[in-house]
């Protein structure tokens, strides 16, 4: 297992934790449903402390860097919603010339989806909302 004292803990040397009928399984299934959508390149679920719980991104994608930024963005969106009294942050999308990043917020962490420029934003946003609701459910229920 990863030694958090010396190793970046988002990349445990022995790989991701073994599948269990637990939150971890729910995380993987939730992300997998999103990455199957048309125009979605990949995604990850990252905890507020930046730990990558699960990721499905193309090879050579900078997973650790993206995770750190996604966790920072997720926290800013949470904090802004709280400070401005806008209710809990649910989802967000940010588009650029070559694609869009979607972020969903939940107590467990943040779902981040990287998509092509011409992706169906409304469709991904709806699916992301469902994913966020599912993650909220895992937080409320017993982990096993």
């Amino acid at each position: 297992m990863a030694d958090p004292q010396t190793t970046p803990d988002s990349i445990p040397p022995d790989g991701p934790a073994a599948p269990r009928p637990s939150r971890a399984q729910a995380f993987r299934e939730t992300l997998s449903e999103l990455t199957r959508l048309d125009g979605v390149r990949g995604g990850l679920i990252v905890t507020p402390d930046g730990l990558v719980i699960t990721s499905e991104l193309p090879p050579r994608f900078p997973v650790e860097a993206l995770a750190a930024l996604a966790a920072t963005l997720g926290r800013e969106l949470e904090l802004g919603a709280s400070r401005l009294e806008r209710g809990a942050f649910r989802t967000a999308l940010f588009s650029a010339d070559d694609g869009t990043v979607f972020v969903g917020g939940s107590p467990v962490g943040y779902v981040t989806v990287v998509a092509d420029r011409n992706v169906n934003s409304e469709g991904v946003r709806t699916a992301l909302g469902r994913a966020v609701d599912r993650l909220r459910g895992t937080w409320r229920t017993s982990p096993i």
Partner: protein, 260 residues
Amino acid sequence: MGLATFLERTWSGITGLVKPRSASSLFRLADQFRHEGRYEDAAELITEGLRVSPNIAVGHLLDAYLHVVFREMPAAKASFRRVLALDPYHPRALFGLARIALEEGDIEGCRPFLDRAIQYFPDFPEAKALQEMVATWTAPAAGASTAIGTISLERLRLPSGAHDLVVTQADGTLVFAQGSEERQKHLGLHMTQVYRIASATLARAGLGAMRRGVIEGAAETTFLRSDGGVILGVALAREVEVGAGLVQVGRLWTDLNIKA
């Protein structure tokens, strides 16, 4: 508690009678639970481990991580500092404190933590990503224009129910904001930070500079537009669809005579 957890704990209790578990084994299992999202179970093990061995840095580090997950930032900060008291160059603790400083809006306080983390642990992509992001942030120039109130709301095609209209420059200079002075300050800071972090995220994903944003809250939806120099944000009713909201923000952008 589920059956598996119950059996696991019963078994561990029985074996514990024979041989008490070491702090390191408790922390190892806690870290495994953390990777599986079993935060409550991890927290129990960390508490037990730190009771047995209160001077193990990794225990305090795991404790800090869980406080962050539970959004207990003062406690997280204290735990990260305990790690540094035991190991002044611990990169993960330095990184944790950098991230907390960042979310507190303390950019100058964040930078030294990142610099130290990378100095002692050069192969640290997460810290490098934040360091590169923060390096591009500039403070508002001295004497920069903060012409709040010079924008005439009457001349804008402000959609019905729209509020929290805010215009800032990418360096954080507030150009205009609705609401009280306190709210203006929060709006300006938040819009600037969201723009900066989202831009860094998009760039890291190889997608280019941020042009538009939509933030859905429980009560309302915020729409953003930027050309890289100016950021426009406005809150609309939550029911407004993404396409319609972006069109309305586009009209405001034109009314404000901001050249994209």
